[in-house]
Subunit: 371 residues, 2 copies
């Protein structure tokens, strides 16, 4: 068994998601809960069918409460430190689906201080610049401006800081060291930051002036923050937030997750079709065999093929995906062909995204909360 | 040698101020610097003559810069958790004197989260209530509303948080543990708070958009926060703040400092004349002898007599104070007489203060900064 690491700041090695479920104290999204969800949504997003969103905590309670007439808010976020890549979009696409299906208000936190604390060479001006770049990608997802509130921590601190203090009083240094692995060499910002990430989970109750549920769609590495939030919530009189958690979009070169900080491992939302082509052709780790002859005979391994993984995230047509899987596995489809399909799917997706991203420039103010 | 403790949260035992000067790396206010100050002020406040304000860091540089035409801001604060007592007023009275003499803008921070972090039974509603009570005492000191900016941390966090983050990034947990004695059992608020206390020292430069000096008149226990601020300042491109530091007004029962949290050790600004009388008569630790006969023979000990100490803080007339010292020391003046004088001086002071405090209720908005 290879070792792997999953923290909000680092994903390393081949992630064993079953082990994560055990270690994080979360639950798998099983058939029972998916059936319960489908009662309300009529259909299941392919992220659910394909187990891309694979785990949760208290999502069953959110649905139970919803059935009693108690609505819930959605909350997700983006720590800006560079351009948005395809991996970032996954929870946002799913959040939009949930917003549409449940008519939910979405709180979108942009913690522009988080990466600033963790990266020496990053200034708050840098992260703010990236925040407003990233907001274009967020708006491009198609969220309802009347039901979506986006804010930067440093611009909305007048509202957030007070509640972060309430969280901070309830968390000891020991707890945060145990949860996040902090050492005495960490800075005070790194240590305090989790308090700010807890606050939006309480805003539904604060805004509605009555206990109001919050569901957080995010990648599984973020769950640790919300484990802390769930510990604190009852002490402050807030409902515990629920999470619904997705796997990581693999990096081009496989292993860990797609990451902005490692060159040539990510496809950015602003990449040109040519750039996407080059990245897939040159870098996308292949599950194919060494020679065409061997490939035809033994077949490819879609499970480790990055192009194929990308199709599971971005090719909506499940029948077509199945056909590709079988053709690649049988050896009928070569890696070159699989890559061409992936390039086409991603570029089609990005072409639409980039159009909406361009139009988003006029819409920013409709979405923003500021002090 | 008795042990003593001086931290921002605890003052215990008989304070050895000379030892503090060595331990804190601060300087005594010597004749040279007082003469330099007098060149600009024409006179010395009796707090300086009597060594109540006794130490400083970089005050000499502040004066040097002032002589070059570079003005400075003043900054002080009050962490609200209860009523204001006479001890709290000492740095404020001195800050007003400095404001008048140097025509300085005063930044007055009310960190309404600080005591909240340190006291289990205190809510942010409690500290906010006390904040606005305490602001009446601050305004009653007579600060110029055009040159005095008061804010609560939770109400002004929209402006402060960003800069607190810049400080936080530069301070490791190790540093803050060494400076403040924090343990892993401390909460995240206690640990982060010092970052918020640093920020007002940088506001002069931020507001003026050029390097602008800051002088902090405060009690000596606060210097540790500003030692941290001075370490950080150059890394963020801000001038190091200077401090000018006072001794503690003793508690009625002597030892440590006047404290709100210990019953019958403090005289509050809202105490009635009768209450002041009772407290001084019943509780003020006396430097007198056991019998009148012995007192007449050996004389009293003004150095340990709390009533006499209060006169050094609140009786402006230095000639009269000297006479009282001599009469008490020689045995000519009995403790009862000394206490009567003290009661009269304090009640006269409080009568005026309470009138101004009442009028302050109409003036709050002239002073406040909010997001």
């Amino acid at each position: 068994m290879k070792e792997f690491v999953v923290t909000p700041w680092e994903v390393k090695g081949k992630v064993d998601y079953e082990k994560l479920v055990r270690n994080f104290g979360i639950e798998l999204l099983d058939e029972r809960i998916l059936a319960q969800l489908k009662k309300h949504t009529g259909e299941l997003h392919y992220f659910l069918e394909r187990k891309i969103f694979f785990a949760h905590k208290y999502f069953d309670l959110i649905l139970k409460e919803f059935e009693k007439g108690n609505k819930f808010y959605l909350y997700t976020g983006r720590a800006p430190a560079g351009p948005v890549h395809l991996g970032h979009l996954v929870p946002w696409i799913f959040a939009k689906w949930l917003q549409d299906k449940f008519n939910s208000i979405l709180i979108f936190q942009i913690p522009d201080e988080e990466k600033f604390f963790f990266k020496d060479d990053l200034s708050l001006e840098d992260t703010k610049k990236w925040a407003y770049e990233n907001i274009l990608d967020i708006i491009a997802i198609g969220f309802d401006p009347k039901k979506t509130k986006i804010f930067l921590d440093t611009e909305y601190a007048g509202h957030l800081y007070k509640y972060a203090c309430m969280v901070a009083k309830k968390v000891t240094l020991s707890t945060t060291k145990a949860l996040f692995g902090f050492k005495d060499s960490n800075n005070l910002g790194e240590i305090f930051y989790t308090c700010m990430q807890s606050v939006p989970a309480f805003l539904p109750t604060i805004w509605e002036k009555k206990p109001t549920n919050c569901l957080i769609p995010c990648a599984v590495d973020q769950d640790v923050h919300f484990r802390l939030t769930r510990d604190i919530a009852p002490k402050l009189g807030f409902p515990k937030p629920a999470t619904i958690l997705c796997k990581f979009l693999p990096s081009l070169t496989q292993g860990g997750k797609m990451s902005t900080s490692v060159e040539n491992t990510a496809i950015f939302t602003t990449d040109t079709p040519e750039k996407v082509r080059t990245k897939i052709i040159k870098y996308a780790f292949s599950g194919g065999r060494k020679t065409v002859k061997e490939h035809r005979k033994k077949g490819g391994i879609p499970e480790i093929d990055v192009s194929y993984q990308y199709l599971t995230f971005f090719l909506e047509d499940t029948k077509k995906l199945k056909q590709i899987y079988e053709d690649y596995k049988s050896g009928k489809m070569l890696t070159g062909e699989l890559k061409e399909i992936t390039i086409e799917v991603l570029n089609k997706f990005l072409q639409e995204h980039q159009k909406r991203r361009e139009r988003a420039k006029e819409k920013i103010e409709e979405f923003m909360l500021r002090d």
